[in-house]
């Protein structure tokens, strides 16, 4: 008999998960149910037991501390759109508005997007541009440790910088029976996001770009973090370009094809590999242009 667990505390959730690592963690259900429908369509009727974490309500929403922003993994896209956040999160907000329709935005969570680890996950590219830190925990017996805000009690597993958390297409470093408990973001700057698809709404990205730029009072780039998604098994930082942009005024002409050599796009029904590579370059130029315009507006 497939189980369905609905714990109200993280502690309880971790204990249940430790007892049955085969459970599937469910928050908004926006990946799990479509996956079930896809399998059932060709006669695979089995489904795993469910660990529904949606009642652990303190894992939802934003918290500001003197040094960081903490994002609960149960935070929905709609929560992100509605939250009062600094410009650093503009890219995250733009991504949230472009995910699914309002129905999915109301239900889908950033933690689910992260753990599902699709190469086309809009949220992951943005979190990577924000250099998010991912906190996870698992049940580790009766003794408890506590070293992160918000969640208590907990049994902290390794935390990851986002880039090391994602291991590959639909694979993460999340340990067996571990749950993402928190996402932290710090730093200054302004976030950007662009995605490309073949229609206006409800579209899975052909390519997408998330970026954070910060500049000094003379307009020279202090920080540039640029991430391209849907063009590799994992979203990729375009570090070579970031290095070139640093210390100079924002200029889209500085972005060159050779900076994108780490991308390994595929040919599929949505687009060709060559196109994805070119589109990634163009989208990056577009966000640099947009940032340069913002910079001029801010100065004025």
């Amino acid at each position: 008999m497939s189980a369905y667990h609905r714990p109200t505390t993280l502690d309880e959730a971790l204990r249940i998960y430790a007892e049955d690592p085969s459970l599937k963690v469910l928050a908004g259900g926006t990946d799990i149910y479509p996956g079930k429908a896809t399998r059932a369509a060709w006669g695979d009727m089995k489904h795993q037991g469910i660990l529904d974490i949606s009642r652990i309500t303190h894992m939802r929403g934003f918290t500001e501390t003197p040094t960081d922003w903490w994002i609960g993994p149960l935070t929905t896209w709609r929560d992100i759109i509605d939250a009062d956040l600094p410009p650093l999160f503009d890219g995250l907000k733009a991504a949230a508005r472009g995910i699914g329709g309002a129905q999915i935005q109301n239900r889908g969570t950033i933690g689910g997007n992260l753990c599902h680890a699709s190469p086309a996950a809009d949220g992951i590219a943005v979190l990577q541009s924000l250099r998010a830190q991912i906190y996870t925990c698992y049940w580790n017996g009766p003794e408890t440790t506590q070293n992160a805000p918000i969640i208590s009690p907990m049994h902290v597993a390794p935390s990851f910088v986002i880039a090391s958390f994602i291991e590959g297409s639909r694979r993460t470093k999340l340990a067996d029976s571990a749950i993402v408990t928190n996402i932290s973001v710090s730093g200054k700057g302004r976030g950007y996001f662009r995605k490309l698809g073949s229609r206006a709404h409800l579209v899975i990205s052909i390519a997408m770009v998330a970026a954070v730029f910060d500049w000094d009072e003379r307009g020279n780039v202090r920080t540039a973090r640029i991430v391209v998604g849907a063009c590799s098994p994992m979203a990729q930082r375009i570090s070579a370009l970031e290095d070139i942009l640093r210390g100079k005024p924002l200029d889209p002409a500085l972005a060159l094809p050779e900076h994108f050599s780490m991308l390994t796009p595929i040919d599929d029904v949505r687009a060709s590999a060559d196109y994805r590579r070119a589109a990634a370059l163009q989208l990056v130029k577009d966000v640099i242009t947009e940032a340069a315009e913002d910079q001029r507006n801010v100065r004025r």
Binding site: M1, S2, A3, Y4, R6, L26, G28, G29, T30, Y33, P34, A37, T38, A40, A41, W42, G43, D44, M45, K46, H47, G49, I50, D52, S54, R78, R97, G100, G101, A102, Q103, I104, N106, R107, L196, S198, R199, A200, H201, L202, V203, I204, I206, V269, R270, A271, S272, D274, Y275, R276, A278, A279, Q282, L283
Partner: protein, 919 residues
């Protein structure tokens, strides 16, 4: 195995409910199966279509994605409720007034998404409405009237919320020909009470699940079912070809019944039915396909026209050794000579792919054995062709036609895809075997992988003109991939040669077509029957000729446009309605302005290029040179009730409303309201009106309804001994004839029946395709304005201007609805839609246009009345789709300089072409 049920207390539409539910079941299951609130529809079960949108604590969600376990203590609003502050009720009235509901399957989702928006933002902007409704797919309306309706409620232009059927006081004044009458079936659609194929079945119905081939081509052996049966309580039967009592085959034409109900040892496409499980729903959910004893031997598959026509390619069907199902031909004049003497010639090869109908209602229904007497089978299903279904089921069961009754459910979109049987014979065979009602609901993927598509095409064509642009010759060879089985392949092959020149005067024509079998999904009927594909070729060649001759693209079309008195390539003289010149003239101001605007824009913008394109189309209404009669009956009872008994299935286009309007006009009795019979298309209670296809129902069944009403009227006059020209009017419980006679309804004969039948006059085509294949043709011209991102290859359609000669607009709102919806599908064909078996079998990989993809549409209705049509009307179902894609391609070419010969123009394809041009 499911987890134990949990107890939930939830509030639905203001009422508290306590229910028990399996925790991993969904909100949609709780609403539909536990609470019986079937107004919430399931289109995909995967959050892709939004049909199941409801409000959960005020926020719109897909009910198919919310676990029942999360519902305790929650508040849910569905289409059955009034909505917060009665907003849903207000929206209902606006949807009715605007004709925003066509088939109605997306309507509940749209209403709830709009309710959520208006509750949060009482007066939203149009972009806000587009965004809020962006998660609900509609395949019928092109979204425009839906957004208009929501905008009206936001602007408080709707005062009276609709809480009951508003069509209480309608008569000839509001319901005659030419009126923007509300749909006669509108209230059912906006109230959530309409019952589609999946919405109802007898309590004791067993469920059925079809086991389908995962291989495009394979042999298989069926093993012993006994162990599975023994091991699975609740599994009642496994059904295979061995259980088919009659012929295990179906197909549209008597000589092309080549598709088995259940395959026998050999499958020819991925998705072909092999066997079926029948039993309790819970039992079926436990059985994996892999539990069913089937041993597969995959075989090499023929994919695409080239592979199937290659030398030595194995034959899919022994009767067609060259894999050519059928050929079509039209020859007139001396094509070679005309090409040789021409001032300019243009040629090219054009390709299109499979296109999925993507109606939001997957196939569903149920069959009941012995309901209409011993040995009978009654099949309730979503269909476009009840009488054809009846004949097909009778043949499969090996029983006389009279033993089969088809009762159409509401049809949640068809577009040609529900012209073939799908669930009907499967259900009938299963119900006959188990002797008990059986129901089935296809999953989205099952619907997409197993049912018909638009034919992929490869068309090579050449057109020639004289120095001033008069067309001299047109030559085409079109191959159409008809997939594994014949379906409507012959219709496509026959219709295309007639239409392939486009609606132009061409003296010398040579058109050949072939329908080719492949190991792919069967291609069948889809809005336009091959003409949308051939129009892409002929309209592109018109642009080529204009370019070569230095002519304006509008001008060359106007110069060649078929009009009254002209002769078509099949040698038919268009005696009457042929309003293409008028259509083009209506568009001329928009054409000139759009070209000037584009030039001005392009002078200053290097990246986003504007372009304008134009295309024309024509479309013969009804079957090609085949009898396709319709019969209608209208009755008057002693209670004063007039009922139109219509067998013409309304698939959302509004034929029921059109027929009532026509009958109202013909009956001409002020104060008397015509009702529609409860179950349109029921083969047990209505006459055969033919199938809902080929843009024929307004024209053909409209005539039948007119004649039936006239018959009733003349019987009344005879009974009253009144002259033919006497007026009749209702006066309370009586009819007044002129000023002299008053007859109470109670004093009339028990039942007065009027009958009307109509079969459009056509002639057979000779070996050269010469003759008069259709009684009348619809004509249209459309302009597309686009903006192309030259760096990303993305195309945004920014405006469509559509001029359609419809003969007479019986209901202008419905005509506009058909034009908007056809344009949306044409836009999808041009820019995004491509069905690839095994790859795009769901609505997130197969993309259809959303709210944000539809441009504003300016509709010009041209009424060149056809004396053959009812009050002058012609068909309008298919035309808008046909002209849209070529106009968009022309606009892309104008914007970019690139001539696109393959659709869909996905961004990467256009980007590649632009790059080649720039190199």
């Amino acid at each position: 195995m499911a987890a134990p049920h949990i107890s939930l207390e939830l509030t639905v539409n203001g009422a508290a409910h306590a229910v028990a539910a399996e925790p991993f079941s969904t909100l949609a299951d709780v609403l539909r199966d536990t609470l019986g609130l079937t107004g919430t529809k399931i289109g995909c079960d995967a959050g892709d279509c939004g049909a199941c949108t409801v409000l959960l604590d005020g926020a719109q969600v897909c009910a198919c994605l919310v676990p029942a376990a999360q519902l305790h203590g929650r508040t849910i609003d569905t289409v059955e409720g009034a909505g917060p502050q009665g907003v849903t009720d207000q929206l209902r009235q606006a949807f009715l007034s605007h004709g925003a509901a066509q088939c109605g399957i997306c309507t509940p989702g749209m209403l709830m998404a709009a309710t959520a928006l208006l509750t949060e933002i009482p007066a939203p902007s149009r972009p806000e409405i587009e965004a809020a409704l962006g998660g609900v797919l509609c395949r019928c309306t092109g979204y425009i009237k839906i957004i208009d309706a929501v905008e009206d409620v936001g602007a408080r232009r709707v005062r009276e919320p609709a809480v009951a059927n508003p069509r209480a006081e309608t008569d000839a004044d509001t319901f005659g020909v030419g009126r923007r009458a509300e749909r006669v079936d509108g209230w059912a659609k906006v109230s959530g009470r309409e019952l589609f194929g999946a919405d109802a079945a007898p309590e004791d119905a067993l469920w059925m699940r079809v086991i389908r081939s995962p291989h495009a081509h394979a042999r298989f052996v069926i093993g012993d079912f006994a162990p599975l049966m023994a091991a699975t309580p609740g599994l009642v039967a496994l059904v295979t070809a061995a259980d088919v009592p009659g012929e295990n085959s179906f197909g549209i034409f008597p000589d092309t019944k080549d598709q088995p109900v259940f395959a026998e040892q050999h499958v020819r496409y991925r998705g072909e039915a092999v066997a079926a499980l029948v039993g309790s729903r819970a039992a079926l959910a436990q059985i994996a396909d892999s539990d069913v004893p089937l041993a597969w031997t995959p075989l090499p598959a023929l994919t695409g026209i080239e592979a199937a026509t290659a030398k030595g390619a194995p034959a899919l069907h022994s009767a067609r050794s060259d894999n050519v199902l059928t050929r079509g031909r039209l020859a007139r004049g001396d094509v070679a000579g005309a090409h040789a003497g021409a001032a300019a010639s243009a040629s090219g090869t054009f390709e299109t792919g499979f296109v999925e109908h993507a109606y939001i209602e997957p196939e569903a229904g149920y069959a009941v054995p012995d309901a209409d007497g011993p040995g009978t089978i009654t099949v309730h299903a979503s269909t476009q062709a009840p009488y054809m279904d009846r004949d097909e089921v009778a043949r499969v069961l090996g029983v006389p036609k009279e033993k089969v009754r088809i009762v159409p459910t509401a049809c949640g979109g068809g577009f040609g895809g529900k012209l073939d049987v799908a669930v009907q014979p499967l259900l009938a065979v299963a119900a006959r075997k188990v002797g008990q009602p059986v129901r089935i609901v296809y999953s989205r993927t099952e619907s997409m992988s197993s049912t018909t598509k638009r034919h992929p095409s490869r068309i090579t064509a050449k057109a020639s003109a004289d120095a001033v642009g008069h067309l001299l010759a047109y030559e085409m060879h079109g191959d159409f991939n008809t997939g594994a089985y014949a379906s409507w392949g012959p219709t496509v092959a026959n219709r295309v040669p007639i239409h392939a020149t486009g609606p132009y005067k061409v003296p010398h024509v040579f058109n050949l077509t072939r329908a080719i079998y492949t190991n792919e999904t069967p291609a069948g009927a889809f809005r336009g029957f091959g003409v949308p594909q051939s129009a892409i070729a002929n309209e592109t060649l018109m642009d080529d000729l204009a370019e070569k001759l230095g002519l304006d693209r509008w001008q060359i079309r106007r110069r060649n446009a078929l009009g009254r008195g002209d002769t078509t390539p099949s040698g038919q003289v268009l005696q009457y309605s042929a309003g293409l010149p008028e259509c083009l003239d209506a568009l001329k101001p928009a054409w000139d302005k759009a070209n000037i605007d584009a030039a001005a824009h392009n002078a200053i913008d290097a990246r986003y290029k504007s372009g304008v394109g134009i295309a024309c189309m024509w479309y013969g209404c009804g079957n090609t040179s085949l009898s396709n009669p319709s019969a209608m009956r209208i009755t008057l009872g002693r209670d004063g009730a007039v009922t139109l008994w219509s067998g013409a299935v309304d698939i959302g286009q509004g034929v029921s409303t059109v027929l009532v309007q026509i009958a109202t006009e013909a009956l001409a009795i002020p104060g008397l309201r015509i009702e529609l019979n409860a179950t349109v298309g029921d083969t047990g209670t209505t006459l055969d009106a033919g199938k809902t296809s080929a843009s024929r129902q307004t024209f053909v069944s409209g005539n039948a309804a007119r004649l039936a009403a006239l018959d009733l009227r003349s019987q009344l006059l005879r009974f009253a001994n009144a002259g033919d020209d006497a007026g009749i009017a209702r006066d309370g419980d009586a009819l007044c004839f002129g000023t002299v006679r008053r007859i109470r309804f109670a004093d009339l004969p028990a039942m007065i029946e009027g009958f009307g039948t109509y079969d459009p006059p056509t002639t057979a085509l000779d070996a050269d395709g010469q003759g008069s294949p259709y009684a009348t043709y619809g004509f249209a011209a459309q302009i597309a304005e686009v903006e192309v991102d030259m760096r990303l290859g993305t195309t945004k359609v920014v405006h469509i201007h559509a001029a359609h000669d419809v003969g007479r607009a019986i209901n202008p709102t419905l005509v506009e609805g058909q034009i908007h919806g056809g344009i949306a599908q044409g836009l999808g064909l041009a820019l995004m839609e491509e069905f690839i078996p095994g790859r795009t079998e769901n609505l997130h990989d197969y993309l259809i246009p959303t709210t944000g993809d539809m441009p504003p549409v300016s509709v010009h209705i041209i009424e060149d009345v056809d004396p053959e049509g009812p009050y002058g009307a012609k068909g309008v179902g298919e035309p808008a789709l046909i002209a849209t894609a070529p106009a968009i391609l022309g606009a892309i070419r104008h914007a970019t300089g690139v001539t696109v010969r393959k659709v869909p123009v996905l961004p990467h394809r256009l980007w590649e072409l632009i790059r080649q041009l720039q190199d």
